[in-house]
Amino acid sequence: MRQRSDSLFAGFAWGATFLVLASIGALLAFLFVRGAGTLGPRLLFGDTAAWAALLRHAPVFDGLWPAVVGTLLLVCGSSLLAVPVGIAAGIHISEYAGPRVRRVAGLCIDLLAGIPSIIMGLFGFGLILFLRQTLLPDANTCLLLSIVCIALLILPYMIRTTETALRSLPEDALLLGPSLGFSRWRAVRHIHLPLASRGILSGMILSVGRAAEDTAVILMTGVVANAGTPQSLTDKFEGLPFTIYYLAAEHRTVGELDRAFGAALILLLVTGTIFGFAYWAHRGLEQRWSLRS
């Protein structure tokens, strides 16, 4: 009897694995089959010549180029904000903070990590309304606002990965600094950070992936269906995830639906590449430990 229930369990585990992998396989296969035919310069630039679009001589209509640029700017901008703050806070919590600060800060960061992205978007929208009534009557939803909100969204992940990587160092590594008479910062800078760098780096990159895919935040903070490539941080912008959402719901022609599939494929390529980098960082740094030097 026991034997049979155990083999039933084995069957269940195999079944679950197969089901999940098959679903994901079907999803990816469907996207590739449906989207592959749409790839090409036309998908990106529509009727505008590629050169003109790249050199900004001419705006792009019916192409994904502005959305690609928007998403890349969003990813770079929010990483630029969130990475330094995230690493600094992670170092602070794991190396500097006392138990009480650690508890309170930890609580806040857990709460921040749990906040749904739509609430972050709502917050951003509210922030603009507030700014308009008080300090900046000209403030408006824009690329900068989206960057800030996305940075806040990925910040707790950055902090947590840094903190976890630093805290999981072996004890002798932690004792090395004091034994050499290093100041605390010196120990962190020259011993702990290099040792923890692989964990931090791969965690960073995975968080950046979240910045590329989030839709709910940008939906409420400045993304529009038609804006062209943004010329400044205070411009409205287009984004790949929003383009997919928008075109999926209301393609006017088959061509527009095709473009949605093309956009999905490009976005998948972007997040897949980011994931690949994270994987590479993790594997590579298992062998070459130090980030700098």
């Binding site: 010549a49 050169w51 209509f61 411009d235």
Partner: protein, 282 residues
């Protein structure tokens, strides 16, 4: 390699042609008003307007890349809210502003087109004529099978629009006489999305601005009257609304130029080509 070279060649040629023709096309046309202008016009709101706005933006920005025009949807509610808050220069609505809305925020309306609102169904649905009463019962959730209105034996799948929709407000007031819309109706967020939903679901019933209707959906007769823009303009088809652009106070010169462009002959051409009937200014 050769292919690549060809491609580059073509790109150059397109660029050269584009640069050569644009100034010519612009000279002495309604686009003249944008000569030398720089700045951004943000537009948001009614989703029935989007095809017209997009086309106008394309025309203007192709000729004068220094002018940036962004177009967002969201529904008439967004149009009112965002223009009132000053977040966009032009807020579009598919319904007239209420007196409160206009007075509270100091909004000025520019009607530019006539659009009927029609019930739409899947093109393969055999039903081709519905009375207003039948439609009311369907949307109230009292009639739940297509057989009851002369169709096949199949359940009716209701689709309605979100809370911010002006199209919904017009239909609810003029066709449903402020009656019920059943709670279980699926909610979609734009005229375009409504068309897609009805085109894909064989048992669907929804509604959209007539300008959005094409061969992928079918608009049954209402009490024997075909829901066409002509009938709407002539007053035969009763479920009609105007499409408005709204600004907060007097528009800036650039926004004024855009509004004049839409209201002028070039705009009328665009409006017609997108399936609406232009209102001649004045």
């Amino acid at each position: 390699m050769k292919q690549l070279a060809d491609w580059f060649g073509m790109a150059w040629m397109a660029l050269a042609l584009g640069l050569a023709t644009i100034p010519l096309a612009a000279a002495g046309t309604p686009l003249e008003a944008f000569r030398g202008a720089t700045g951004t016009i943000d537009i948001a709101g009614g989703t029935a307007h989007i095809p017209v706005m997009n086309e106008a933006a394309k025309q203007i920005m192709t000729a004068y890349p220094k002018v940036r025009i962004t177009v967002a949807g969201g529904g008439s509610g967004v149009g009112v809210e965002k223009v009132a808050a000053g977040l966009v220069a032009i807020g579009n609505t598919g319904r007239p502003l209420s007196k409160q809305e206009a007075e509270r925020h100091g909004l000025i309306s520019f009607p530019f087109a006539i659009d009927g609102v029609a019930v739409i169904i899947h093109p393969k649905n055999p039903v081709s004529d519905l009375s207003a009463e039948q439609i009311r019962k369907i949307f109230a959730g009292q009639t739940t099978n297509w057989k009851a209105v002369g169709g096949q034996d199949a359940p009716i799948n209701l689709y309605t629009r979100d809370e911010a929709s002006g199209t919904r407000a017009v239909l609810w007031k003029k066709l449903l006489k402020k009656g019920l819309i059943a709670e279980h109706a699926d909610v979609v967020t734009s005229n375009g999305a409504m068309k897609v939903a009805a085109a894909q679901d064989p048992n669907a019933i929804g509604y959209a601005g007539i300008g959005h209707i094409d061969s992928t959906v079918k608009a049954p007769l209402l009490d024997g009257i075909a829901p066409t823009q002509e009938n709407a303009a002539a007053g035969h088809y009763p479920i009609v609304r105007k499409l408005y652009m709204n600004t907060k106070g007097e528009p800036s010169p650039l926004v004024r130029a855009f509004i004049d462009y839409i209201l002028g002959p070039a705009g009328a051409k665009i409006i017609k080509s997108k399936g609406y009937i232009p209102l001649v200014a004045g």
